[in-house]
Symmetry: D3
Subunit: 135 residues, 6 copies
């Protein structure tokens, strides 16, 4: 059970209903998942979050599948089960294979291990790693 | 200053020196960064970590650049500055553009925001997201 | 199921029973929630934790409702479902409205997003932010 | 040193310059802190982040000082030094006293302690805490 | 339900089956827990993880019970329920008493509290704490 | 620089001075580290934190060295540099060898890796791990 009501379509405010219409049009499906139904309790937050997500996960420099995989990796590190499941589903829908998922899991595990070892040892940063990407 | 000595080449045990030789051969450079020099205080841990990293980050289902970007994303979520810098450097060396890096940062930020919102609202998992990838 | 027994009133040691009596008197209710019943396996830890909580969450410079909201915000960031639910319940009992709760959620989400962006970009601290509050 | 350039005013794209103008007008100061100067490498991300922050931290149900304190609490839990310092500065500017700050710190510490104890003991959620706030 | 299939013995690849045989021989029991059955979807990751775990948790400088307790402490901090339960079970099997477990929980709670207070106050590191353990 | 003043002895309130006297007597040294000097801005928080720490880290079921090592492990997972350094120093003073420290680091790394892999795969908990330690 959520900490706020998960709103059915007929319980939406007009502003929330308009966002749901855009979600359905953008994704070309009638299905609107529970995340948006819980957010709909605050229509302004719903609208802002949806518009940010649409912009961030939409066309850009990175492949959409790669973006979903980055989302999954962060969700694992942050321990969000709902997010792991929803974005793993999305990544698979965008072509992530099972071999790619297991490799993602291996990278996340390896990074988590070395992140903590580095923190434990307080490794000084090599000058070679201090770049800003500027040319 | 690290919590253990950062070992110079002439302070290595034979087992650690052998790992350093493999790092140099695999990466085709004489440069061995401080992470390995701190780990060298425990040659068995050094060897295990290097061999795992070589296997995980080596050829596989995912593009090497994508793997480095996943590594960076996790390191951001875990707050490891050394790891962010070293793997951002590696990702750039493998072709990550500045536009791709900023997009990675946007995805990590967005995921972190929605991860916490989902946790706050305790959103119930939609049955559509409960797949295992099995067919 | 918890990792230690959740103790019923008749299973309490005398020291734990005395703490339960103080919880009941302080809160003016017979209800003692499961957190204390699990802690009661270590009466000294139970007593110390209760006395700290009573002092921290009692009268002070901040409004009790605000303190509960800070507690909820931290519990979201730390991913503790039990704590989110129990302190959201407490905050509502102390007057938090649903609009305030959704605004809290928006702030927690926003902070989590910018926390990670700042970490990713390793933004240098502006001198203007280096104050200690001393005059 | 940041992982991307911290842009001076004369290095901004027109879209980024427009956001800086709005930051200056909204805050009624010429000072634009480094967070925005690093974000300016991706003008779309800069604009989205600024507009979200302006909306979330602007007038609403909660006192602006309380919102800054929630921001600080989350930033502590996420370990972001820059964010702790910038939002503590903002909270002080909005009236947070030193006694209030120390009380915030005490609440964050207490919540972090009990969050972990609850997780360790896997305390079952009391039915009384399962509300959604709906009436 | 897991995000990948939990494999029964008759669904294992030959390489995974060989790892399971070593798990059974090393632990002297026919029981193989679900962690390995999920990992078995990627036999190379399964093999690497098992061999690392066997090496890290095997005979060394620290008592095996202490190693399991350190594992539990980290798992609490990282919020992994499965890991808390499996390694608490292992620690108990290696002799951890209930008094020791509650003391572990108290230390984890205390450390989490002071970790966050230190971060909030940005306490400068005393020179006396800057040692590397070298003599 | 800290976010609150680090108080010298002559800036202490009488209540804070009394706590410092107990720290010095208990530890049998004149040295009082910066953590307490920052906490001294809130004498009640200082007193409560010191008394809890003294109780938790004092004589009990676990070896004092093991308690310090648990403290270090949690501090690594929480990313608190000050705490890692101060409690590593304390653990070394209580007899932790360099081999034991590196083994601790290996366990923390291993646990962090498997914690995330378990979270990624959402491994179902084996019934054998559901014990409460009760007999």
């Amino acid at each position: 059970m959520s900490t706020v009501p998960v709103l059915a379509d007929d319980a939406l405010s007009p502003e929330a209903a308009a966002v749901f219409a855009d979600i359905r049009a953008t994704r070309n499906t009638d299905f609107v998942n529970n995340f948006w139904r819980a957010l709909a309790n605050d229509p302004a937050l719903l609208k802002r979050t949806w518009e940010s997500l649409k912009a961030v996960m939409g066309p850009g420099a990175l492949d959409p599948k790669v973006k979903e995989m980055l989302y999954v990796a962060v969700s694992i590190a942050n321990g969000c089960e709902y997010c792991i499941r929803s974005h793993t589903t999305a990544a698979r829908a965008k072509g992530m294979t099972e071999a790619e998922f297991m490799e993602l899991v291996a990278v996340v595990g390896m990074a988590s291990e070395t992140n903590r070892i580095v923190t434990a040892l307080q490794v000084p940063i090599d000058p070679a790693f201090m770049g800003t990407g500027a040319r």
